[in-house]
Amino acid sequence: MLNGTEDEEKWLAEGIAGIQHNAFYMHRALDSNNLREALKYSAQMLSELRTSKLSPHKYYELYMRAFNELKRLELFFKDDSKHDVSVVDLYELVQHAGNILPRLYLLCTVGSIYIKSKEAPAKEVLKDLVEMCRGVQHPIRGLFLRSYLAQISRDKLPDIGSEYEGSVDSYDSDMVLSSSSDADTVMDAVDFVLQNFTEMNKLWVRMQHQLKPSIAISGLQGPGGVREKREKDRSELQDLVGKNLHVLSQIEGVDLEMYKETVLPRVLEQVVNCKDDLAQYYLMDCIIQVFPDEYHLQTLERLLGACPQLQPTVDAKTVLSRLMDRLSNYAASGADVLPEFLQVEAFSKLSNAIGKVIQAQVDMPAVGAITLYVSLLTFTLRVHPDRLDHVDQVLGACVKKLSNIPKLEDSRAMKQVVALLSAPLEKYNDIVTALTLSNYPRVMDHLDIGTNKLMAMVIIQSIMKNNSCISTADKVEVLFELIKGLIKDIDGADVDELDEEDFKEEQNSVARLIHMLYNDEPEEMLKIICIVRKHTMVGGPKRLPFTVSSLVFSALRLLRQLQGQEGDIVGEEASMTPNKIFQLLTQIIESLSAVPSPELALRLYLQCAESARFLMKQAANGCDIEHVAYEFFTQAFVLYEEEIADSKAQVTAIHLIIGTLQRMNVFGYSARLLKKADQCRAVYACSHLFWVDDQDGIKDGERVLLCLKRALRIANAAQQMANVARGSGGPVSLFVEILNKYIYFFEKGNKQITSSAIQGLIELINTEMQSDSTNSDSVADAFIASTLRYIQFQKQKGGVVGEKFESVKL
């Protein structure tokens, strides 16, 4: 089988060779001022354009070569000193050519000179040319011929201010052109271009039905291939047709009035009547692009009226979208144009048109409809930023459309919905405005889970970016309704699929969002907190750790705020006591137990306790608060003891607890709080952390000693506290326990633990035991006794360990 493309190349090369050959002889004739020969060879040259074998693309190449040659010929024709033939005669002479295509090319060429010579009114010549071109009915050849006509006539239209306007027919009436009495007007120019446009469009549309594709299609390709090829061929020619509209838009004399009354109706008539989807789409787009925005605005009704009449397969949405985009940009170009929009009720017209188009095009995919709504929304946001009802209306329409579709599967449609929802956010820079749109959440409901989340993120980011503060409970309620995709699992969501990092980011965002909710009015703030709590509590174990802390801090802030205002609200604020808030806090933190996230809970408890302390310092009813604070600590310890298993975590926890406690110096009832003994134990327990009895474990003797010393100090303090409180010595057993630790590390070979230290400690214990003889603790006694026994035993055992203990005297 022959390769189609190769063949085509060959044909093109032959055509070019033919043109060059004849052009050579034509040039020779031109140089020798031989008109007859020039006509002969130019006609032969143009005969190369009669080929049917080339695709539009290749044909264009051929055409351009002929076109360049015709320019030379035109120069020759123009200079009548070279050929002594008047332009009128020349106009006849070229019509003697037997083949129509060369004849018409030559006629157009001479016609342009004819107009320039002003020997006949431009409109008569133009009319004649555009009529005669009917003879070429072959789509490609006709299109190129007519585009040549358009090209050469462009600068010769009787436009306002052009030299061809109003030229009175002072020429001798000849047999070709009938004379007319009235002068040329812009109307003639418009008529001419419109007619040429109409004919070209007809030819272009006809290509779809008449022509075989330019390149032979192999049997393997189905009818789809043929169609595709044909559409490709056609789209290569579209600009030839569209050029006419461009020319129309360039005519000075086409003012709004004329555009409205003549140009647009006739163009639209052609567009609608041609019943070809490709043409309709291209031409509508062309109209929108080439004519000025203000014209569109003033003729909106008519332009939009054509849209529902287009073929169902036309991509009307893109057309409308482009129109709205253009109008939006126009509106944005200056405030002074906005009244125009109001005057013509642009929004309602567009809105109606979209409705109709969607109705008319049943098969339009959801994405199309939504794209339209996005454009409309963008439009209304730009033009009527103050009309929230318009925005809501658009969203409402979209909801209506979406509700007819069971489930939005198309990812592109999703994207468009996101765009739809994002637009108001971007415009108003304020989620608060969006929250007043009743249809906003309803649109969101139609998103799939992933997109919903994405959208929620967009909302949150918008809030963050603009630092907007949501200050009423109602709005918070709506907001959380919007972002519910983030704060709870939605049925059917595939949890396993979640990307851990994304999830974290989402939840962090939610947490940040909670901080943005703020109201100076404590009561309202409390409501907000309650609402947030209500929503976050359903979030499940994975989300709670993120949200709860934010919530807690938010509540704590409220507390402080309450504190600051306490002076003036004490009386009336019966419902709003700090206690209530603390209760709330407790409940919130408790919810973490389900997670379980003891560390976090612990920290939060401590934070609460810290806040309580702060409050207590200033509050009159400090006792209550202290009670509360104590409760928090209790909770924290319960957690510490029951839940925190990991030793690292334990250490951290203990440090936190200790840190907090240290600031709790106001606790008079320390015994009731954390026992010094426990503290002490904690500290000496810590020492183990720095001495792991292992081959390559940490052996930081210094820190061990530090811990032990600190434990000793605490024990000492405890002892003294006991003395103050009860007038008697405290727990000697603490010292004994510390001694045991000393011995342990001593045995393990910690160089920092010296025998003298052990010696000193034993002596200290003995002193304490003696001074506290009154109520001796039998347990402690037994404990010290057994410890001493152990030392004794080690001594006797001898060996390395025994030697070590030698220096310890009992």
Binding site: L39, G98, N99, M132, R134, G135, P139, Q210
Partner: protein, 391 residues
Amino acid sequence: MSDEDLKNILGGFYMITSIVVMRGSDGKSKSKFQFHQYNRRFVSPLRFYNIFDTHVLHAPQSLDSGFHQSIMNYLVGAFKPPCNIFVSFADGRSRKQVPLKKENGKTVMAALFQSQESIVGEVVIEPVHRKKVEHNGVKIELLGQIELYFDRGNFYDFTSLVRELDIPGELYERKTYPFEFSTVEMPYESYNGVNVRLRYILKVTISRNYVSNIVEYQEFVAVIDELYIQFSNSKQADGKVRNYTPTPSINNSIKMEVGIEDCLHIEFEYSKSKYHLKDVIIGKIYFLLVRIKLKNMELEIRRRESTGSGPNTYVETETLTKFELMDGAPVRGESIPIRLFLSPYELTPTYQNINNKFSVKYYLNLVLVDEEDRRYFKQQEITMYRLLETS
């Protein structure tokens, strides 16, 4: 000639098969495409692509005629004529000259005369080398003759006028004889066709004893400006008074609806039925129904020359031009304009039964060619007439 061109001609063999009479609405004439089988012989091998070439108007001269001529030349060369004869017209310099095709195929310029004009001039006889030429008298004849090629040797003189120039005697030196034929009635125009020739000649004869006469011919061309008068039956009483409004009094347009049922319906219109030689054919073709894939459409000008009468009638049809009207396939509702300038073609007026010997008629043939090169056509007779040349 390109392949495509050849196809066009070969396509002529196709026969149009199904042709049905169309119902014409209202008073329009009803017609149908004609049954015609193109005979290749009738299709002139015109170069369709290049109309700027001169068209072959005449069939090649027959072999005999050329042969005859060459023999004559040979004889003349062998026995040098004893004298040269020149014929010239009195207003030869100012008189319009038109091209005239000679028998040997060469084109020469010849003087143009109108009917009723006086033909005045002189004959110069110049003996060669001052040789004495004896003669039985010199005369000049004005002959109007019709020559039918298939009837070789037979000349029909419809006009014969004689003027004696000299009485019998001897010629020694150059001698000039003026002559005049006043107000010559020339009923027919000169015509050079495929099978017939009508010409006007001046024949100078020097009669001699024993040896052959010396003869010289001078051909000229006659035209009749207001030839249409023959048709309108308003013969001028006084030939000198010319009719300056030569437009035919009745000149209807030709309008017709034709077609093949359910395939092709067209309506065509030519603005006039009578055209002068430099006229323009204006018209349009309107497509009412198109169900066949047309490729192009052309308008042919055809000349039909019929000679002889009865069983000996010879009809020769020539296609003078093929003028492409449309390229590509139209759809229903399209209207294609026609504008064909007649001036480039060497046409003659329509001749009706000239001296009972021949007729020349002209036809417009509208041909539609489909993608399989089938040709659908409809032929209409038009009347050609000569318009007074004001220049």
